[in-house]
């Protein structure tokens, strides 16, 4: 099995990172482990700031594979996308971070949505002028949500408005 946690020269370091993440609610909590316990989101008690610099940092230094779902507090079509992504992650058997990024609310109002987002491992909230942050993520994105960025293990990005298709999920997680 071509698991990202079983091959490569940094396997030990990654395992240690996973162990650290499992006990650090402020960082990614790979849901392959936690979702198996069916309570991945229950441990989320904090919301991280997402400003104009965050996206670049995540793409450069963030986990791979990973999924980022940009959403709004009133986006009723967004939870279904988390369902789709969560199922794909569970089916893959890999611990893949799945982040929700709330664009319109912060703090407790952002956290209130955690239990609607299946398999979510981390919650961010926009901190700054929403269109400016959105344009850093994708200059052509018109605030339609869910807006999903699937980051493959190779670092290849797939940008999806709405729910990813089966072929996109396959390309993401192999």
């Amino acid at each position: 099995m071509n698991s990202s946690f079983s091959v490569g020269p940094f396997a030990f370091a990654r395992r240690m990172a996973l162990a650290f993440a499992l006990f650090s609610p402020g960082v990614f909590m790979p849901n392959g482990a936690l979702a198996l316990a069916q309570h991945a989101h229950a441990a989320i008690t904090t919301v991280a700031d997402f400003d104009a610099a965050t996206w670049t940092q995540l793409l450069r230094n963030g986990p791979r594979p990973a999924a980022y779902v940009f959403t709004n507090s009133f986006c009723a079509t967004c939870p279904e996308t988390f369902d789709v992504l969560s199922k794909a992650v569970m089916a893959s058997g890999k611990p893949v971070p799945l982040a929700a990024i709330l664009m319109d609310v912060q703090g407790e109002r952002a956290l209130a949505h955690a239990h609607h987002y299946a398999g979510v491992t981390k919650i961010y909230a926009f901190d700054g002028f929403e269109p400016a942050i959105r344009q850093v993520v994708d200059p052509k994105w018109h605030n339609i949500t869910p807006y999903v960025v699937l980051v493959a293990r190779s670092g290849k990005l797939q940008r999806v408005t709405g729910q990813p298709t089966a072929s996109q999920l396959k390309a993401w997680l192999g």
């Binding site: 009133f74 009723a76 609310v105 109002r109 002028f129 018109h142 869910p146």
Partner: protein
């Protein structure tokens, strides 16, 4: 070299902008207290995000009114006299006591003036459960000198979606409130975790006494989009018309149009044909204004397929009296970054305004027509740095203004054709 060129271009553009701004007769208003969000936030290092989304309207005496949130999350109103739209009164708090009020993007406080000194302010109150809300209203019967405490407009009191309200008086002075409502979706059978009901519904009610009492909740239509504003305009028969983002089968998020006050559910006329198939929330509702021939001017956002390419645009069209578009009139606004456009009209004068954001810089554009929407001229009106609201249009007879609030001030631009 690039930096020098960039600076030269920037200065040149600024010169053009200032000239055009002067030509458009800007009245820059005294700012109310900068607004900020209510509720908790996780990181004390940062100020809470501003909640700048506001409502504006002219009173019968020509004064301009505004309703919005202040830094404490309290709802305030202020007004400026017809002779000097830059002379805002001091903000007056009308709702405090910590009531949650949506004031972000298309979900914002609104004002409407009717006969007999009636004034109403509406907003969506987000409830504790996600995706739920109540439509709240304050009413005045003395021209806005005093307002009632807020009350819930709809008779349905379930903790479900009642959001994205719109409010207007029709030609007979009847107050109409419309909102996005999920009572039918809640009752529909589920397919797995997903409801079998497509989208949400639009419900409405009417008040013949300026909001003192209301008729029953009435369904306008099934299958609206869940999170876009509803546009209202007066029709030639004195009845209101509504335009909203609809979810046509199976998942086409184009626009519907209907008479407000007729049959329930109303006969829905399709008003746009982008054929945008998507299971997502655009958060981008339409704008609607009456034309003198009995038709309408409309603006909306949508994505059209051209081969394998997605063409996203805010588009303008003339609608016929029944709400169907005149195909030859459909055109994209001349700005790929246009967001949340709105439209007003008086005779053959048509104004389309929108915000165009490029990183932290936002430009307010007006697209003005003197021939009923056949030809338009593009005018940049202003530019601001940082957080700002969508531009809000208001009309008093032939007088049209666009109000643009940012974290430091409220700008009022009188539109000259």
């Amino acid at each position: 070299m690039l930096a020098v060129l960039s600076a030269v271009l920037r200065n040149a553009l600024r010169g053009v902008m200032l000239t055009l701004c002067a030509a458009s007769a800007i009245a820059q208003a005294v700012a109310p207290v900068p607004a900020a969000s209510v509720g908790g936030h996780t990181n004390a290092r940062h100020a809470p995000r501003a909640q700048l989304a506001s409502g504006v309207a002219f009173a019968a005496d020509g004064s301009l009114w505004m309703a919005g949130l202040n830094a404490q999350g309290d709802l305030f109103v202020q007004n400026a006299p017809a002779k000097n739209l830059s002379a805002w009164s001091a903000p007056r708090i009308v709702v405090s006591q910590g009531e949650a009020i949506s004031a972000d993007g298309e979900n914002r406080p609104k004002l409407a003036f009717g006969p007999n000194g009636w004034v109403v302010i509406t907003y969506t109150q987000p409830l504790a459960k996600p995706y739920t809300g109540a439509i709240r209203m304050l009413r005045s019967s003395d021209g806005g000198q005093t307002f009632s405490p807020p009350f819930t407009v709809h008779s349905d009191r379930q903790e479900i979606t009642h959001r994205f309200e719109s409010v207007a008086f029709d030609a007979q002075g009847v107050l109409h409130t419309l909102w996005v409502d999920k009572r039918d979706m809640e009752l529909a059978p589920k397919q797995g975790k997903k409801s079998s009901y497509r989208g949400a519904a639009i419900y409405r009610n009417a008040s013949r006494d300026g909001g003192a009492s209301f008729g029953p909740d009435i369904k306008l239509t099934d299958h609206s989009c869940e999170c876009c504003r509803i546009a209202l305009a007066n029709g030639p028969d004195g009845n209101l018309r509504a335009m909203w983002r609809h979810v046509f089968e199976p998942n086409v998020r184009d626009h519907g149009f209907a008479v407000v006050g007729g049959a329930s559910p109303a006969e829905v006329v399709r008003a746009s044909f982008d054929d945008w198939h998507i299971d997502a929330c655009p958060h981008h509702g339409p704008g609607l204004a009456p034309a003198p021939d009995g038709g309408y001017h409309a603006v909306w956002f949508g994505i059209r397929k051209k081969g394998n390419e997605d063409i996203a645009a805010v588009r303008y069209a003339r609608l016929q009296t029944d709400g169907s578009p005149l195909p030859e009139s459909v055109r994209a606004l001349p700005d790929e970054r246009a967001e949340h456009a709105d439209v007003l009209a008086s005779g053959n004068q048509v104004a389309v305004v929108w915000r165009s954001v490029n990183s932290l810089e936002s430009t307010l554009f007006a697209w003005l027509s003197k021939d009923g929407g056949r030809n338009f001229q593009l005018r940049p009106l202003s530019k601001v740095h940082g957080d700002n609201d969508h531009p809000r249009l208001a009309q008093s007879g032939e007088r049209m203004v666009v109000v643009w609030r940012n974290a430091k001030e409220v700008q009022v631009h009188e539109l000259k054709f």
